[in-house]
Symmetry: C2
Subunit: 349 residues, 2 copies
């Protein structure tokens, strides 16, 4: 068993009350006595019970992280960022996976209330803004990589419009003029926002992206692969493809290779997600939009700590994307490193 | 603020002591009074402070999960299993990512001691058994997907030897006789154990796997891709390849396709990890060994709960793998579904 304050008191030959005052720096006491109590506590390995001290400080230095969509591929960098932000506060992260199940979610939220967490981060990508948690929770809530439908809540997510703009701009700068977009279902808000961003970039250069060149096929490699044949037949002069995910991009690159179309010579490619493991293994390696999820997680953790201190920022904030440049749509003279970094912010497994 | 026991007492018109006794089922009290207190507590949304009750029960119903290698691709299913096992005990999971940094690890372990967690799961694949945590921790520790060097500790990991045996056996049953193995560095214990398992399967069928047909090249697609040319030149009659990861398998399949070698007609392939997203997108889809990490996580959680109840099981236990059958080495008549399931136990993101 871990040493208790009683063990410290006994070893120091003082009362429990004196030992406690000595350790927490309170009360009147001779400096030598205090130092002796502190030394003895260290020597016998005493550590304050943080759960007990929370009863007086009003904080538990625990934060819940509720994920609604399981621990997917996008969770690890986000988690790493949240954890790094919280470590400044020495707060611990309690993990809850609701798995799109309202009953599980309710159960977890109740448990976090019972644990008196200081705050909660809700995460998980949904096709649309998520239903908010009850407004009566006794701690601040921050939505990260998802947004609450309630504008009074605080949400922090990816600027997908900016990501679409970055991808399209890179293709235009590469010299592409007849560009298509292969992506997932239009029911996803992120998909619609990326299309809007791409169109903005094209407009800025006097180009357009007509509806018939936006293919909503799904986020898989197979969807990308099979879309290429249709696209090559329907789009004479096709010279660039913005792929809605690196999985799509991988399938597209393979299909172009099989059709004898050179990448980037004939058709340049930009993907989305900067999933290094897949993008770097594509032939040729895939230029891709990075959502900077580690940075998003870090900002979410910092924002929640601010809210716990009474400084909440309601509304939806969107953080910019960046671009990881590889051979499928290479760097150009004058590219700023600000948006061309290719170094993952956290090591990949 | 959340309602307190004082609010319950006030609303019920009883003392705090009576309200407390009414809620925890202790003390003598008329059943109607107890029911009224319980009803009022529910109506005003009172929930017991679990942190406070831990001071009397001696348990905090929290468990730490310390990952040594970050949140990699293998963490999500493991986490999901641990969480499901703990939910039976309504225990919460506190997450700590040591990132191969001894100082961070020490900091986290100290924090978990200060929080009085009931137990700790240590995870993270290492090239070799991991150095154990201090034996003086005031709670049980379980090593999962990694093993402790100290045999007195409890470890639960993957039976890599069995995984290698399954892969090789499937190739042999497919009719392969001249089989090669492309895998990662021999410095990894898991790599050596898979080789040993494959050799056992071959011996059982009067075949062998000579050293020159074991290529330790690395776990990437590129490594798999480039190894194929060498292998085709050096191994006449090559008809099967056991790939040490699905990434290697993906590169091998692409290289064989580029060389005009039919899979599985000329050369059959089996991968490792059953990373559906990659294995199912391979052309042809890749048969692959599944480490059943969700099941491992679940068993680890259950084992830790048993240890918390005083029923620790020291030593290293290894859980069997299974095989996900796809076109690169297809199912055969008589294959038992027991080891041919292709349904991920948890949904992939």
């Amino acid at each position: 068993m871990a040493p208790t304050i009683r063990d410290v008191a006994k070893a120091a030959g003082v009362s429990v009350a004196t030992a406690s005052k000595g350790l927490n720096g309170k009360g009147r006491m001779r400096p030598e006595t205090r130092q002796r109590i502190v030394d003895i506590a260290r020597d016998i390995g005493f550590r304050a019970n943080r759960n007990a001290s929370s009863l007086t400080t009003g904080r538990t230095f625990t934060v819940g992280l509720l994920t609604r969509d399981g621990y997917g591929r996008f969770t690890p960098p986000l988690l790493g960022g949240v954890e790094d932000a919280l470590s400044v506060d020495t707060a611990s992260l309690i993990l809850c996976d609701a798995r799109r199940d309202a009953v599980r979610e309710r159960h977890y939220v109740d448990a976090l209330v019972a644990r008196r967490v200081d705050g909660l981060i809700v995460t998980g990508r949904a096709t649309d803004p998520a239903p908010p948690l009850p407004r009566t929770l006794p701690f601040p809530v921050l939505y990260a990589y998802t947004t609450s439908r309630d504008e009074a809540d605080s949400s922090l997510t990816v600027d997908d419009e900016h990501g679409g703009w970055l991808a399209a701009r890179q293709l235009v700068r590469q010299g592409c003029r007849t560009i298509a977009h292969i992506t997932g279902p239009a029911s996803y808000l992120a998909v619609r926002e990326r299309v809007a961003g791409a169109r903005r970039a094209f407009r800025e250069h006097g180009l357009d992206l007509p509806d018939e060149r936006v293919l909503h096929v799904g986020f898989s490699e197979r969807a990308g692969y099979t879309a290429v044949e249709r696209l090559l037949a329907s789009t004479p002069g096709l010279d660039g493809i913005f792929c809605g995910s690196d999985q799509i991009g991988r399938g597209v690159a393979d299909a172009l290779g099989a059709a004898g179309v050179a990448v980037p010579g004939d058709v340049a490619l930009v993907g989305f997600d900067n999933w290094t493991l897949l993008a770097a293994a594509t032939r040729p390696p895939l230029t891709s939009v990075d959502m900077n999820l580690y940075r998003l997680g870090r900002a979410a953790g910092e924002s929640l700590l601010a809210a716990i201190d009474g400084d909440a920022e309601p509304g939806v904030r969107r953080l910019p994307c960046s671009l990881a440049i590889r051979a499928s749509c290479p760097a150009l003279p004058g590219d700023s490193t600000e948006w061309t970094h290719d170094t993952p912010l956290v090591p990949e497994a």
